[in-house]
Amino acid sequence: MERKEFLKRGFLSALGTSFILPMVSACSSDTVDPESTTETTTGTTTGTTTGSCTTTASETAGPFPTKTPSSLVMTDITSDRSGTKLTVKITIQNKNNSCAALANAIVDIWHCDAGGNYSEYGGTGMQSTDFTSVHFLRGRQTTDANGLVTFTSIYPGWYSGRAPHIHVHIYNISGTSLLVTQIAFDQTINNTVYAQGVYKSHGLQDTTNSSDNVFGDGVGTELASFTGSVADGYNLAHTIVVNG
């Protein structure tokens, strides 16, 4: 068989699912430090070595690695989820600099899909190099000179006990956490969106902002402003002030 053909065919088809399960545990044993297992014998007059060390292979320098961002860095975080289009524009201001726009802040957002589910994480399990939709509705952008980041997503759904929301974690350029917060939604628009499309079967949210255990103390700094419609999609605009 040509190697190319073999590569295309993949492991699952060749071995079958029943083979996979024991294999996962077989390769997941506890950590063993290299120092404690690699024996290197040195000092012989002939320069030969024994034990488990191996001559380093000579190899061309390529393929040349290049600096590349986390797979979280995405503008369109929709992935394979469907729903009413939502453009999220978040502006970050710095309270420690007269509320001026904070450039180069790292902004992570994540929210649930129309059915109220978050991304299923791989945990400590196996991942595949060609699997691309592992973290739907989660993304990262860095603020521009105006302190602005923009994401394309879908209108979040809801899950029992919480009012609809988007999680936001803001870091400075060095990765130091500045603020963990949530964005609240407009009740009237929620009622419109959840009455149609992929949201309809899940019905209206069971928790309002005022009865929510996170937003219940007031959403003055957390409620975003909205424009748009179900047909055209919505635009969310929100300003978050941090101590940058």
Binding site: P34, S71, T129
Partner: protein
């Protein structure tokens, strides 16, 4: 009997790693750990990956979140396992699947950061072991051997952290050797 095997290479990356690719993975996974861990370390109670994993159930996705910093580097490998070379000194082992592991990490000390990536090879037919090296052919070649076809092979030295992680030693019934009696008088005592 030819066996179908899977090799697994556990590549360890820490502060002593020297190759450019390894350094990128080290730097970026450390930064991602530092960023993600702050969700759980704001009260200053916990600092290490072990403490956070043991004490905070919500941090169960930490390994996956940190792996997001490595996956685009892993894709740059073009599905060939790093470091594992054949006797020509060429990288040779195809993989599609991997597992990321945080061995140790501490938000206070980047130099203590240590991760591992398990690279699981695609299936390989194991033919023999020669002088500490595995003689293998890529893919499932058991049928080709049975039918006497010429099969391209590769010699891969055994080395630290390279494990045979699974074996299929059985052969599907339709390929099984049938022990035909020889057509001589020895087989026909009458």
């Amino acid at each position: 009997m030819k066996r179908l095997i899977q090799l697994c290479y556990r590549k360890i990356i820490d502060a002593s790693s020297e190759k450019a690719w390894d350094k990128y993975v080290f730097d970026d996974t450390w930064m991602e750990f530092f960023m993600q861990a702050q969700t759980y370390t704001q009260d200053g109670k916990y600092h290490t990956f072990q403490e956070i994993s043991d004490k905070i159930p919500a941090a169960g996705n930490m390994t996956y979140m940190v792996s997001t910093a490595a996956i685009n580097y892993i894709r740059q490998l073009n599905d060939i396992v790093p470091d594992i070379a054949n006797v020509y000194g060429k990288l040779c082992l195809p993989f599609k699947r991997f597992k990321f592991e945080i061995i140790h990490s501490d938000i206070r000390d980047k130099s203590a950061h240590k991760v591992a990536i398990y690279f699981y090879s695609e299936p390989i037919t194991w033919i023999d072991k020669l002088d500490g090296k595995l003689l293998v052919a890529y893919g499932d070649q058991r049928e080709a051997f049975k039918s006497g076809q010429e099969v391209e092979t590769e010699l891969i030295p055994l080395q630290p952290y390279l494990n045979i992680s699974s074996v299929i030693s059985g052969i599907p019934a339709e390929f099984r050797e049938i022990d035909y009696p020889l057509p001589t008088s020895e087989n026909n005592p009458s």
